[in-house]
Symmetry: C2
């Protein structure tokens, strides 16, 4: 009705009409097929531009079975996804890298679908592939994960294991990172070193515990169960763990904590109880998020390559999407120990 602007509904049909060609010719011209005359193509492109026409991605997705959308599953509010500074940067990298290859991101958010699974949700939305960024969910939703592994949907996870023909994962070297951290404490003269882990159910958790054990072993230090606590990456968990540890085992002089967020809470808790870091106790964290550098004392921690994790994960997913037979090897990224002021030589 409106002859001024190319607004409102503009379908391929109107473009065809305005350009005086058939619908299929428009499609071919716009999609860069070769079997269309220069002249026609030019005219079609002009009309399309003039009326500000872009093909409807929904209709296209229906027939092509490809949406150029990548799905993103997060864990719960506290532990991952948008709310964890560590994963935020991974996601940010994913967004940028996925964008470079012409894809958008679909964040699965709908919480009214109790019966749905990762697989059914992915199929409903028709995403070309998915990222899994979870934490405790890997234990809680084991069945869903198995289903997804077998679904044939290209899938990459961060910091936990996924196995299947069309799955792979990118992780940090949690073993080495933890071992380096604990060895650092040992070199500073610490012998009673505690371990506060996030969880013990996934590969990452196990790797970290093993890194801790092996560091002790190599230094000829005995492994003592009473020095080990787990909590689900929550503030309260960290606090309780610190207290429990301190009540259960005295003369602890060093603590490895599985995340910077928890490490900071541990330091607060110790301080409340009259123990100062690093003069009384040394603390080393994990992740190297922004607060680590700024907190007081500045945190000694294990840096994960956040951007690279996201970049590589995206590269892997892209490859799997583009080639059905490709299954990139799971990859482990090195961590780097960043020494700041929360660790010090043991007092003599």
């Amino acid at each position: 009705m409106n002859q001024q602007d190319g607004d409102e509904k503009m379908s391929i049909r109107e473009i065809a009409q305005k350009a005086g060609v058939s619908v299929s010719t428009v499609s071919r011209a716009l999609n860069g097929y070769s079997d269309v005359s220069m002249e026609t193509r030019k005219r079609v492109m002009e009309v399309a531009r003039e009326f500000n026409y872009f093909p409807n991605a929904i209709a296209r997705g229906l027939v092509l079975r490809k949406t150029h959308m990548i799905g993103l599953f997060f864990g719960d509010r506290i532990n991952s996804g948008f709310d964890d500074p560590m994963y935020q940067e991974v996601i940010s990298a994913i967004r940028i890298e996925a964008g470079k290859s012409g894809r958008d991101l679909l964040i699965f958010a709908n919480s009214n679908k109790e019966l749905s699974t990762y697989t059914s949700l992915s199929k409903e939305r028709g995403v070309d592939g998915v990222f899994l960024i979870l934490n405790r969910e890997e234990k809680l939703k084991k069945d869903q994960i198995r289903e997804l592994e077998k679904s044939g949907i290209p899938c990459v996870s961060i910091n936990f294991q996924l196995q299947g023909d069309r799955c792979t994962y990118v992780e940090s070297n949690n073993y080495q990172g933890t071992k380096d951290a604990v060895t650092h404490l040992i070199r500073l003269g610490h012998k009673r070193i505690a371990f506060i882990g996030g969880d013990i159910y996934g590969k990452a958790g196990v790797d970290r515990l093993n890194g801790y054990k092996d560091a002790l072993l190599e230094a000829g230090l005995a492994y003592d169960e009473r020095l080990v606590e787990f909590c689900y990456f929550t503030n309260k968990g960290a606090r309780d763990a610190a207290i429990k540890l301190q009540e259960r085992a005295d003369n602890i002089t060093g603590i490895f904590v599985a995340s910077d967020r928890m490490a900071v809470i541990v330091i607060d808790t110790l301080r409340e109880r009259g123990l100062f870091v690093p003069s009384d106790i040394s603390v080393v964290g994990f992740d190297d998020i922004a607060v680590a550098e700024r907190s007081n004392p500045a945190l000694t921690t294990v840096r994960q390559q956040r951007y690279e994790m996201g970049r590589l994960a995206t590269e892997f997913l892209n490859r799997m999407i583009d080639d059905p037979d490709c299954r990139p090897e799971p990859t482990t990224l090195q961590c780097e120990l960043v020494i700041r002021n929360s660790t010090a030589s043991i007092r003599v």
Copy 2:
């Protein structure tokens, strides 16, 4: 081909067949229409569950013209979206609240579409509404924003103005927040107070500058242009601004900085130049992100209601999507001055 599991393609047709009814009956049964017998409905639902059937959202979107997806436009890498801790929490809130009303989030990421606009991208994907979380883009992409305002697409922006029948926005009270911060400095005895703004082009920037000016005015202090600097919320910008200010105007004893991230850099820069906070200079930031509390000295700052911004924005967008005639009033949320250790009484 596979008679064991309900995997692979399951369309409404197969369900209809298995249930011994027509396609339309399945559709009606699953969508809770009343004109279908209890018996039939039950059978259909059973078959659907058994074969793990969920209607394809793409096909559905095509015919219904509703995707239950909400689009999200971010600014560039540095300033907003996933990379700014302040906006991350807003986005997190959006995700949760949108999820409650049964919608998923589409993050526009594709960077190979130079010719596209917010409007064309939104129409292509068929999102039901969009959020705009920008910063400097509001200046750079003015035309696109105008187009979007007129497009009829429900749209809510955060911390900047949007006008149109189907647009609204949620902002912080940037004027009052800034005024409170500067007044706080004045009460501490400061008279030479500088202002480092993020930008001056949007309403938020202007409001903050006005808050600064009015605080001075009410205290009978003169406004001095040489005490005002702008930078685009970048680390380098903050650093340069601090240096410029210090070289241009001596005896500054207080600085208002438009974001915590910049405030922290300003403090670093001053320290490098032999000026200590708060003993030599008081600094107050904006946002109250996580580092503010932990940084050294802990930052006095203006807290924005991040979760509430996201929640309210989502509520507004939901309303506009559900009711074409609804246009929620733009809303301004109060800020709270959080006093910590980066501000102190002026030395006598």
